[in-house]
Symmetry: C2
Subunit: 367 residues, 2 copies
């Protein structure tokens, strides 16, 4: 594993620094009503964007849809017409850098295939835009570092779209661990899996996805375990399981892995493009806490050793957008849970799991 601790510290410092003042932000002492709606341009328009992200922007208080970045001009014209985005806010990938000249766009939401996250985040920052980047942050630790550096240098916000950070179910789970309701946390299980439909699109192509289900979905269990343990793991062991070698010729289908933490606690996780799974479970010396449908946008069910727990659902996407808009207008950098450092940590752990799969043995992570 590359040692990133010293650089991490430096990067963390720059990321935590205040941001450049953003347009007509409310500044200090302003009330919530003073926040204006920041313009969000979406780079990469796949299924999740049209199904979840655009409706969330439309429902949000402090964001508005202000631009598109996509492959072809036909698609851009059609999107622009459908969502009322003017032609001068429609960018092909080649035209993307011209976004610097558009003061109507404050934030670029990077929803491109994983292997393009780094490039477009760096270009967005250089164009003076804040960035909300989908998970996984990037496909290598080095790319994550470049993204943090670029946004830090430009004094622009870099947030990773870890919507779980805004989920009251996940917050309650973390709180019950922090407040010692489960006693000493010893075992975490976190699984995510769904059958990948159709031809799988870019997710099955290594050049675009950067990896398979471990990188694309495994980032959720890694994030959960790390957040619950309040630390990064000190060693990992990963296994790959492939039942369909034709479909999954470039990227992995199912990965199971374990992560040991310095205090002796262990997380067992899995991510799969075929096996349906969707659960987080935390067990301590005084009890357990489980989330079923844990990684879904709604229908999450919480339970503990004492029985079911009723927790209201929220609109994770809207909270994420409004929160970033407010942070930016307050001149604050995204903090723990959604920061570039969080994204980097997860990619670093996932890289170690890939290394373990390659070498067939336990991989130690430097802390």
């Amino acid at each position: 594993m590359a040692s990133v601790s010293r650089r991490e510290a430096l990067l963390g410092l720059s990321a935590a620094a205040g941001l450049a003042a953003c347009g007509s932000g409310p500044g200090s002492g302003s009330g919530a009503n003073d926040y204006r709606k920041l313009g969000v341009a979406i780079a990469g328009v796949g299924g999740v964007v049209t199904r979840d992200v655009i409706p969330a922007i439309q429902r949000s208080k402090h964001c508005r849809l202000a631009g598109f970045v996509s492959g072809g001009s036909d698609k851009l014209r059609s999107l622009g017409k459908q969502f009322d985005v003017p032609e001068n806010a429609q960018y092909t990938y080649e035209q993307f850098d011209r976004i610097a000249d558009n003061p109507d766009i404050d934030i670029v939401y990077i929803a491109l295939p994983n292997a393009l996250h780094a490039e477009y985040t760096v270009r967005a920052a250089r164009a003076g835009k804040h960035v909300l980047c989908e998970k996984p942050m990037a496909v290598t630790v080095e790319q994550c570092e470049q993204m943090i550096e670029a946004c830090g240098r430009a004094r622009r916000a870099l947030a990773i779209a870890y919507r779980l950070h805004y989920s009251p179910h996940h917050q309650q789970l973390v709180r019950s661990v922090r407040e010692n309701e489960l006693g000493s946390l010893q075992i975490v299980r976190a699984d995510i899996g769904y059958p990948l439909r159709g031809d799988g699109g870019w997710r099955l192509k290594r050049a675009l996805a950067g990896g398979g289900v471990l990188l694309e979905q495994g980032v959720y269990p890694v994030y959960s375990a790390r957040t619950l343990m309040g630390a990064d793991p000190v060693e990992v062991l990963g296994y790959e399981t492939r039942s369909d070698r034709q479909r999954f010729s470039e990227v992995e289908e199912t990965v199971s892995w374990s992560m040991r933490f310095a205090n002796g606690a262990v997380a067992h996780c899995a991510a799969s493009y075929t096996v349906p799974a969707n659960r987080v479970w935390a067990g301590g010396s005084a009890g357990w806490f489980a989330l079923d449908e844990a990684y879904s946008l709604d229908g999450i069910e919480a339970s503990t050793h004492k029985g079911g727990v009723r927790i209201g659902q929220v609109d994770q996407f809207v909270l994420q957008l409004d929160s970033l808009s407010q942070l930016v207008q307050d001149g604050k950098a995204p903090g723990a849970g959604i920061s570039g450092m969080d994204g980097l940590r997860d990619v670093r752990i996932i890289s170690a799991i890939y290394e373990s799969i390659r070498t067939g043995g336990v991989v130690t992570l430097r802390t």
Copy 2:
């Protein structure tokens, strides 16, 4: 790891051989009504025996309580009085071999601390008695082999009390995997844990228990995973977690482990004397099947990706006793699922997990 494959084959052969005719058994062609009630002597009378085993014998069709083996003569007298067992069927450990002279006792149920299973099984077989031995079969692979050899040589039945073998919930889970209802099985999770009450008795003393929760309870997840996969794992990685070093000074408190199978599938398991856990989950390319309260005597709940599954509860202890009585009277050896070979396989896997904990790395099992 000791290579046991050749010896296993030999042992398996002798275990599969027919048993010596047992008293006035029905022989061939007899109907169920002809089975007589075999006499069962219980060696070791702890909480599980008085709470579960004795009532089960009393409810059984083909067994009756016929003797006790226990530490002190006061305890024996009191048990004899309470359960109507004559004085000449009450044995201290020193007197145990005299059981050979008691034709009223057919089967010895070994419910002693784990480290004594081997010695009393061998002595029971030498005394001409059939053996039903509690899990774990013994504390080392060598002990398991000695037990199989002793019972084989004496042509007496050796069954391990894997009551799960008789649970329709576990049967249904295994069937759904065998009949491909879950597609290609890729991930198994099996966890067992309960807070050990009081002073923990012999379970916290290495000399009697032979190990901690991995050996005593971990045998269940190992058995489940092995049965579901239809194979033994090819490698294991184990981690120990200890939150109370005073109480768990001799044996481990919590163990998490992973097992990889030759087909690439992976089982993640845990066993704990502090963390409450009780679940088996199997995930394949076509769906999943879960048992909650999986290792309890009742209240087991089955569910799949399609929803809840209603399965009637049974009396696992009674089925286990009656089944063994019938096998013995039919002159048949206990088969797959309850055989000495099953017990040996599980102890062998558990020994490998202990080795992994000691060495801190992956341990390969020879197949």
